[in-house]
């Protein structure tokens, strides 16, 4: 993964490393848009159910595996074409939507009236079930995702000794991710079911009294979120083509953090949070001057040939940003402060 080594660059020298800087920006946006896709599922489910769906990261893993099987069945590696790629996406998204609805039906619906922590533990149980079930069914060793599109660079630029390379895969990831987000925006804002979703998110009981079939709406929300996670799973597999049953754990956690960062329950917030997480992961680590010397002095980082290695701190820094943001804005960046009434 890029950004693993720290470059000695600050604002001044940063200009010299302009291409490098842009490279980090690209990688950050690519990762961020995938995090955003997963975070959307978290935030939508939280919106309608007030439930942190811990199994969501594993639905993303399942999406990657469904994509893997679909791509192998359609033999995209031998005959790459746009239609086959689209078919891979649609199959995986459809199957994951079904999985999401099944999980909701059998694991969460019986617990609508139960304490929230109970539903949370059930979600963790489902997450374990998918992870270890995946290890049993798919095998624990990583699998190589077949080529769906041929990877070739679209931008190659050298500037004072540093390089900027943008591949078509990266472009596809960002374009597909944002197209899906726009589609989601359309569904939520301009369709009847979207209106129902917003109504359920605002007040489930009142929505039910107004004739909204809340169970159907919640089921649809799960389907939508799971389909987006599946798309995220395939997109990341195009970029890092090694998939295994535990691949969903860390991105799932980061996407959850992203959703909270943006203000959980808030759809634009999830996108913003996801992009910020992606950028933070690549950027803060790649381009800080102040952190490595301090850590070195504390004996908490090792120096290697290409600078001070602080890749171990990647996750810590993401969480640190989160904590700082939450201390300043306790309900996330775009979340609204809800006054509690007695």
């Amino acid at each position: 993964m890029a950004g693993s080594k720290c470059q000695p660059a600050n604002l001044l020298t940063g200009l010299v490393f302009l291409a490098d800087w842009l490279q980090q920006l690209t990688i950050g946006i690519v990762l961020g848009s995938v995090y955003a896709l997963i975070a959307l599922g978290y935030t939508m489910v939280y919106g309608v159910l007030r439930l942190i769906n811990f199994a969501h990261g594993d639905v993303y893993m399942l999406g990657a595996f469904f994509g893997y099987f679909a791509a192998n069945a359609l033999r995209t590696a031998e005959h790459p074409s746009l239609w086959r790629a689209a078919a891979v996406f649609l199959i995986a998204m459809g199957l994951c939507a079904l999985v999401g609805m099944t999980i909701e039906r059998f694991a969460y619906r019986p617990l609508r009236q139960a304490p929230r922590l109970t539903a949370l533990i059930t979600a963790i149980g489902v997450s374990f079930l998918l992870e270890y079930g995946g290890q049993l069914v798919f095998g624990a060793d990583p699998k190589s995702f077949p080529d769906v599109i041929e990877t070739k660079p679209v931008v190659e630029w050298e500037y004072k000794g540093s390089f900027l390379i943008i591949t078509n895969t990266q472009v596809v990831i960002v374009v597909v991710a944002f197209a899906l987000m726009l589609l989601l925006r359309f569904i939520v804002l301009h369709t009847k079911i979207g209106k129902a979703m917003r109504a359920v998110a605002q007040d489930r009981e009142a929505a039910a009294l107004m004739g909204v079939n809340t169970d159907a709406v919640i089921s649809f929300t799960f389907a939508l979120g799971s389909a987006l996670a599946a798309a995220g799973g395939i997109l990341i597999s195009l970029y890092q083509p090694s998939i295994d049953p535990l691949m969903g754990v860390l991105p799932g956690l980061k996407a959850f953090v992203a959703a909270v960062l943006g203000g959980i329950g808030n759809i634009p917030g999830a996108v913003l949070g996801g992009l910020l997480m992606g950028l933070a992961e690549t950027f803060v680590i790649a381009n800080t001057l102040w952190l490595p010397p301090i850590l070195m002095r504390l004996g908490m980082a090792k120096e290697s040939a290409s600078g001070v290695d602080i890749s171990n701190y990647a996750d810590a820094i993401a969480f640190l940003i989160l904590i700082v943001v939450l201390l300043v804005r306790p309900s996330g960046l775009l979340g609204s402060v809800q006054r509690e009434k007695v």
Binding site: A114, I121, L253, L295, A316, L326, L327
Partner: protein, 447 residues
């Protein structure tokens, strides 16, 4: 007078612990002794997290982080005291050892309490899931920092920690934690904690300093977790940062929620239950047995809220009978193979055993049918889990036996989901285990 009785009780406890400490390693094999120690450590973790999550209602999911702080601080203390001061080939033992370890436990509690204070302070501003995510973040940051501190081994783990933990120390801390939590919860401070859980605004309006009590719960809870970390480090003789990640916190939360938020006895029992369960699931023959035993137990325990509908009686009875038959035919051979592990059974009962077991399991399955509605509701509720596992056991026994190790966590997680679906409030809810609980437990059978 009361003080005298307390003192006598304390002395009796310590004596009992010391006697058990001397005799347990001779009575039981090392593996079982290890499980007993692990169960004790898990009890400390679960009860202390219950103080934060169950009694104060603050949603903390970073308990493993505090455990790591305590464990590493105390291990660094004992290790460097040994290497720099005593300089022997072996760590100092005897009374010096006991004194050093006592100091190490205090250091663990103090360092973890400081961290708990640091995490508790943000809870002034944050509520619910936002607080949860901050505790999660703190936990992960602590692990990342430890990963990079070379003095305590960094990402390779801290090895060569002196061996101090034994039954006496673990269960002394268990008794101390449980008593302290119980006394705290029953005091005026405890009522304040519960008031914060029930309604923070109302508690505030009643003049309770909610901030102070939330921080108090965090500090005490994390101090106990730190001591648990110290006990674990000086038992395993090594500490590894990856053992204190999110998964460990989840394990403790599972114990707390399964036992019932706000039930100390619940936390204690489920901590033992989960520890033993996870060990038993390592043995293939027990896997299926445990699963079905627990399904049956929950079937008996879950009480109906909806009466049977007359029109659906026939299909419901059919489902019942069908599922019972499936259970019997899937279960009997497994119980049989499990019992064959016992030498006595193999010698005396092996030939006719299978038939007896068939009858026994059929009886066990029919027993809850006395209350048909319970059984039906239970089967409908868990239809998919029961069906999938029964099918696996019936039609793919060979595959199952070959992959038994892979099934360990699957069964564990399936059990988790099933238990939660059937007892959403946890096994004990907010109740403590008392005589009344036992009466209530057996009521459905007595009627």
């Amino acid at each position: 007078m009361k003080r005298l009785i307390n003192l006598i009780l304390l002395l009796l406890t310590v004596t009992a612990l010391l006697i058990l400490n001397a005799w347990l390693p001779r009575w039981l094999n090392p593996y079982i002794n290890q499980i007993i120690i692990m169960a004790g450590i898990n009890i400390i973790l679960a009860v202390s997290l219950n103080l934060i999550n169950g009694f104060t209602g603050q949603f903390s999911i970073g308990h493993a982080g505090f455990m790591a702080v305590g464990g590493y601080a105390s291990a660094a203390f004992t290790y460097y005291l040994w290497k720099l001061h005593f300089k022997g080939a072996h760590a100092p033992g005897g009374m010096t050892g006991y004194a050093i370890f006592f100091a190490a436990l205090l250091i663990a509690a103090l360092s973890a309490a400081v961290m708990g204070f640091l995490v508790g302070v943000p809870s002034l501003r944050l509520r619910g899931d936002y607080l949860a995510i901050v505790t999660l973040g703190f936990g992960e940051i602590i692990v990342a920092l430890i990963n990079n501190i070379e003095v305590v081994g960094g990402s390779r783990g801290f090895t060569d920690i002196p061996f101090y933990t034994n039954f006496f120390w673990v269960y002394l801390v268990v008794v101390a934690t449980v008593l302290m939590t119980r006394n705290l919860v029953q005091s005026a401070h405890g009522r304040a904690l519960i008031a914060v859980r029930e309604d923070e605004i109302a508690a505030d309006a009643m003049g309770i300093n909610t901030t102070r009590y939330k921080v108090l719960a965090f500090v005490i809870g994390s101090a106990c977790a730190g001591v648990a970390g110290a006990l674990q480090g000086h038992y395993n003789l090594s500490l590894h940062p990856s053992a204190f990640k999110f998964l460990k916190s989840v394990e403790v939360i599972i114990m707390v929620v399964l036992g019932g938020m706000g039930s100390i006895t619940g936390s204690v029992l489920t901590a033992i239950f989960v520890t033993v369960l996870l060990e038993l699931l390592r043995f293939p023959v027990w896997v299926a047995c445990i699963f079905f035993a627990l399904i049956l137990a929950t079937a008996i325990l879950s009480r109906p809220r909806v009466p049977l509908i007359k029109e659906q009686l026939v299909p419901q009875i059919l489902v019942c009978v069908g599922a019972t038959l499936l259970l019997v035919f899937a279960l009997a051979p497994i119980v049989h193979s499990a019992l064959l592990q016992v030498a006595w059974f193999k010698a005396h009962w092996a030939p006719i055993g299978t038939r007896l077991i068939f009858v026994g399991i059929a009886a066990a399955a029919v027993l809850p049918m006395k209350r048909l509605d319970v059984w039906t509701r239970f089967l409908f509720k868990n239809f998919i889990y029961a069906l999938v596992l029964t099918c696996v056991l019936l039609f793919a026994r060979k595959w199952f036996n070959d992959n038994a190790a892979g099934f360990r966590m699957i069964i564990y997680s399936a059990l988790l989901v099933i238990l939660m679906l059937n007892r959403p409030q946890g096994l004990f809810g907010k109740a403590e285990l008392s005589a009344a609980t036992w009466r209530r437990l057996f009521k459905p059978l007595a009627r």
